[in-house]
């Protein structure tokens, strides 16, 4: 309970400091995340019925809390309304990661959905409003599907415990299918992704960082645990279903990212493509490394994606940088931003010695281990394709001259620097040391 109390308590407390003491609110929130992370590290879970803290969830929770703390450090006055929501996201993430009960899972899923709407609704322009509304409408539709599927499922299952749910019969199959559709919305799997491509690019980038990284990863990991019995009961279906969606998601995401002009759009579609990679371990559930692969992908992705969106947030706030045209010659304007951005993009592209590489390697290995080498071949080709747009951005940063009339210098705030350093440390640490992930996740 300790972590939940800290996070929710801090979330209720921080609005007191909004008038003129934004910085205090920010540091209270960051401290709350750090305290919660320490509490989790000491092995204190939520400790209620239906919640279990296992080593793998412990690792994932610590990573999520550290990333959110780093996110918090980069906030400025613009992101003030996001602070309590981020704290609530942290609390809900802990709960959904620890639960072992399907009812809890559905409830917490909706909780996170509602927090996401509020996160996105930090509206300062028409564009923000459009993004928030799109997400809300798509989310409402998805909620409808999830509840429909869950209602059907609850009619036939004797218990909601993950390990004892009933997954047999046509009724259960249809129920799981409909629920999956709703969950795919949150994971931005094609064809439920339409909202994401627009929303991520239109809402405040700091909110997009939390939406596209932390929330997506948490949902993916929690869903893997919730659906594990279903996936294990229908191995062929699992492979076909998740394999198919993995391929179309990553292919569409990568191709759509190739010719975008707005950087936020590139990152949105790259995020969609990464949802495709995250479906690979679902398809490869027969391999003992599938869960490890998912956790590793999640850990790596949450560091990288948060970082790139937060850098973009800085750049948009300080210098109105939005398109590839604007980012030309960034290394002359702000070498620090350019450096962080480049390393995280290279990690997203899967360059060795960065987390993005090992995570993909492990996930791909799980696929090969499960005998899905055609699928992995397509994923590897996709990964190569993605270099096309990541390097394109880097080329604009380093090899093009700045456009005349734009900001000559962009400063990085100390908070931003600290946050980015934490995220970079995560990307590099998990790019070199694989042991922590393997030792906690093998043998689900």
């Amino acid at each position: 309970m300790g972590s939940l109390i800290i996070l929710i308590g801090a979330g209720l407390l921080v609005p007191l400091f909004f008038k003129g003491h934004m910085i205090i609110a920010k540091y209270i929130a960051a401290a709350a995340f750090a305290a919660a992370a320490f509490n989790v590290y000491m092995g204190n879970g939520i400790d209620l019925p239906y919640f279990v803290l296992t080593p793998d969830t412990q690792l994932m929770e610590i990573v999520v809390l550290i990333v959110l703390a780093a996110t918090m450090m980069t906030f400025s006055g613009f992101e003030r309304p996001l602070i309590p929501q981020t704290l609530f996201v942290g609390a809900a993430s802990l709960a959904i990661l620890e639960t072992n009960n399907f009812l809890m899972y559905i409830v917490l899923f909706e909780v996170i959905a509602i927090i996401s709407y509020v996160l996105a609704a930090n509206i300062r322009s028409k564009l923000n409003a459009e993004g928030a509304i799109k997400m809300f409408i798509a989310g409402a539709t998805a909620s409808g599907f999830i509840l429909l599927g869950f209602a059907m499922f609850s009619m036939i299952t004797p218990t909601f415990n993950y390990s004892e749910i009933s997954v047999h019969g046509n009724f259960a199959l249809v129920a799981f299918g409909i629920m999956l559709a709703g969950i795919f919305y949150k994971m931005t799997v094609v064809p439920m992704h339409g909202w994401a491509a627009d929303t991520y690019a239109q809402v405040n980038h700091a909110a997009a960082a939390i939406l596209s990284a932390t929330i997506k990863v948490v949902i993916a990991v929690a869903t893997f645990k919730a659906f594990y019995l279903f996936m294990a009961a229908y191995p062929t279906t699992t492979v076909w279903l998740f394999g198919f969606f993995a391929i179309i998601t990553m292919t569409l995401g990568n191709f759509m990212a190739l010719f975008q002009k707005k950087i936020a759009k590139i990152l949105s579609f790259s995020s969609i493509a990464h949802a495709g990679y995250m479906l690979l371990p679902f398809a490869a559930v027969a391999s003992m490394y599938s869960y490890t692969g998912l956790i590793y992908l999640g850990i790596a992705y949450v560091f990288m994606q948060t970082s790139v969106f937060l850098i973009l947030n800085d750049l948009r706030r300080e210098a109105h940088i939005k398109t590839l045209e604007d980012i030309k010659g960034l290394y002359k304007k702000s070498p620090l931003h350019a450096l962080f951005f480049t390393i995280q993009l290279l990690s997203l592209a899967g360059i060795p010695l960065l987390a993005g590489f090992i995570s993909k390697a492990v996930a791909f290995y799980a696929g090969v281990d499960a005998g899905l080498w055609p699928l992995i071949l397509i994923a590897a080709l996709n990964s190569a394709l993605s270099l096309g747009y990541y390097l394109w951005v880097i080329k604009h940063i380093y090899f093009d001259e700045p456009v005349a009339g734009t900001h000559a210098k962009i400063t990085m705030t100390p908070g931003s620097l600290v946050g980015q350093l934490i995220l970079l440390a995560g990307t590099i640490y998990f790019g070199i040391f694989a042991a922590p992930v393997f030792s906690t996740t093998l043998g689900l």
Partner: protein, 615 residues
């Protein structure tokens, strides 16, 4: 003791970052950070040396999944401790010396950061238990060496020298990587301690062992400047003299010898030691003869480095780990002394490197002359300086076990070192100044940052001679029998001393006479061959230019521009086509998105039913 491992692994890199970042704010702080870090590292090494009881052995697995296990352990035994003392001790002295030598350079933070990074790489190499960690340290040093040789990268020659060093050493490193792959595949063990053990028990296939041993030796050839990969070492003298002293005289170039010594049982198990001894003997001869005719102070020292590293290699090659390593230790110290003395000369003579332009400096810098003389005596192998004992030991071992080729060449190299180092010393310090313009401006060196480190090193060179047997016993771990050729030993003792006297006399009296002799046409041809290092560099350049660049690379380039580029360019319209097709679904209208969403739901449900029920 374990905590010292942490210091070794973190402090140099931390210090490098600090020296760079803080140095940018306040230039002076870079030196002091480097000095403090260097002192702590050296202190740690001494502490480790004092408290050493049993080898520190830490196992760590870096990657472990599927069938792949890559270890990354730490192992510190007597050999490592000796290497650590050399690396950190000479590193500390070198950093201290650089205060004055690099005093006028505007890029001090960059310099100290690179030097600390180098020391970190050297430490990693000597404390690594597995070939992976050792290789990482090896490459760190290679990178640091490249960065430091081309430290003054705005001069073309320095930039080229850095590139050349990188390419030459990388050529050898590829073989180390290949050896790691072979060992992993055939033996399944990259742990150097285990490999020695397995070799002792005869558990490794002989062919595999021979091939890997030779591959690793090829890397050592590149790193330690042996024939034929030595030209980079001579051009590396373009870097700051402090860098030459630390990296290309005293520490990094020893790593080739270290790696062979570390895997000595493995080498002894195969017949690779025979090849080691022969290549090294040839290199010793080439280095010693070429050193005789060089003009630049640093090039003379560079060739002598090559020659003396070869002597240490010969020691290993003829089966004497003890004397090979002993020579490495002695050489590291007196060569650091010589290089730093050369640095002092170059510093006081306003960056004049040509020995022929100097002369008569003994009046201006008597202490430097004295200290350099002590280093020279040690290098020449004149008793009772340390160099005598190890060189003599190696030569004796070579005569006993090495066969005629090795023993003759290494003896010649050993004797020639008397001649070339005396020539250098006499040219610089004796006689009359040859270039008044330079001589007039010579200023005297400072006390704390120039004379003190030189004095200490000179003192150590002399003092260490008393502890030669202790060092040998320490490295090997048990008392070693000296080669029992007493007559030979006494002969050498007397011979070296007499020869030294003769050579000194010749050079002092007859420098001009020698010059007259060398005007002869035949001598001129030999002079040219020696001066250009037997044209090995030209040969390698010719080969790589005509075969690799004009042959292989150009044909690949044709394929690349005509075939592959066409294919790649064709992918752009293709990808754009797919992009346009996909974009139809992204109208930006939420109604369309929901519609597609609903289609997705239908697909999932129908697909699940079809697959499960086969409807």
């Amino acid at each position: 003791m374990i905590s010292s491992v942490g210091i070794y692994l973190i402090l140099p890199y931390l210090g490098a970052v600090l020296a760079f970042v803080l140095g940018k704010m306040n230039e002076k702080s870079a030196f002091w950070i480097a000095e403090i870090v260097g002192a702590i590292l050296f202190g740690t090494s001494i502490y480790l040396f004092m408290t050493y009881t049993t080898p520190i052995d830490i196992d760590y697995t870096w990657i472990n999944y599927g069938g792949i296990q890559l270890p990354l352990g730490i192992y510190i035994d007597h050999l490592s401790v000796v290497m650590l003392l050399i690396a950190t001790g000479l590193g500390f002295a070198d950093i201290h010396f650089a205060h004055d030598y690099m005093g006028e350079d505007p890029d001090k933070p960059r310099y100290y950061a690179k030097v600390l990074f180098f020391i970190g790489g050297m430490i990693l190499l000597v404390i690594a238990k597995d070939l992976i960690g050792a290789f990482a340290g090896w490459e760190f040093m290679g990178l640091a060496s490249y960065l430091l040789i081309s430290f003054w990268f705005k001069t073309k020659s320095a930039a080229n020298a850095g590139m050349q060093a990188f390419l030459y050493t990388r050529f050898g490193d590829i073989f180390i990587l290949a050896a790691i792959g072979l060992l992993y595949y055939f033996v399944g063990n990259l742990n150097m301690v285990d490999l020695n053990q397995m070799a002792n028990n005869g558990e490794i296939d002989k062919t595999v062992a021979l091939v890997t041993a030779l591959f690793i030796f090829l890397g050592a050839i590149g790193k330690s400047g042996q024939f034929p990969l030595y030209p980079w070492l001579m051009n590396a003298m373009e870097g700051p003299t402090t860098v030459s002293a630390l990296i290309h005289g005293a520490t990094m170039v020893n790593s080739g010898i270290y790696i062979v010594a570390r895997m000595f049982d493995f080498y002894a198990y195969t017949d690779a030691l025979f090849i080691v001894a022969n290549v090294a003997a040839l290199s010793a001869f080439i280095g010693a003869t070429s050193a005789l005719v060089q003009k630049e102070i640093k090039k003379i020292l560079a060739y002598s480095t090559m020659s003396h590293l070869s002597i240490a290699f010969v020691g290993l090659g003829v089966g004497s780990l003890a004397f090979g390593m002993l020579h490495l230790v002695n050489h590291a110290i007196f060569k650091a002394l010589l290089f730093l003395s050369a640095g002092a000369i170059i510093y006081i003579a306003h960056h004049t490197k040509d020995a022929w332009k100097l002369g008569g400096l003994i009046k201006k810098a008597p202490y430097v002359a004295l200290f350099m003389a002590m280093g020279s005596l040690s290098l020449a192998g004149v008793p009772p300086f340390s160099g005598f004992f190890s060189k003599d030991g190696v030569i004796a071992e070579a005569i006993l076990h090495g066969g005629p080729f090795v023993s003759i060449f290494v003896t010649i190299a050993g004797l020639l070192s008397i001649a070339y180092i005396t020539r250098l010393w006499v040219l610089v310090f004796m006689g009359e100044p040859r270039d008044e313009g330079i001589n007039g401006h010579v200023h005297s060196p400072g006390n704390i940052f120039i004379r003190l480190p030189l004095g200490i090193l000179a003192f150590v060179t002399l003092g260490i001679a008393l502890y030669q047997t202790n060092i040998v016993d320490y490295i090997v771990g048990h008392p070693v029998e000296e080669p029992h050729v007493k007559g030979l030993l006494v002969g050498f003792l007397v011979g070296m001393a007499i020869l030294f006297g003769i050579v000194v006399g010749l050079y002092v009296k007859g420098m001009n006479l020698l010059q007259k002799i060398s005007q002869h046409r035949f001598i001129q041809i030999i002079h040219q061959i020696l001066f250009n290092g037997y044209y090995v560099e030209a040969g390698i350049t010719y080969l790589s230019k005509n075969v690799i660049v004009n042959g292989v690379a150009k044909s690949f380039r044709w394929i690349d521009t005509n075939l592959i580029d066409w294919l790649v360019n064709a992918t752009v319209p293709f990808a754009r086509g797919i992009f346009k097709a996909f974009r139809i679904g992204h109208s930006g209208k939420i109604g369309d998105y929901i519609g597609i969403f609903a289609i997705g739901v239908a697909i999932i449900v129908v697909a699940i039913l079809i697959i499960v029920k086969g409807v």
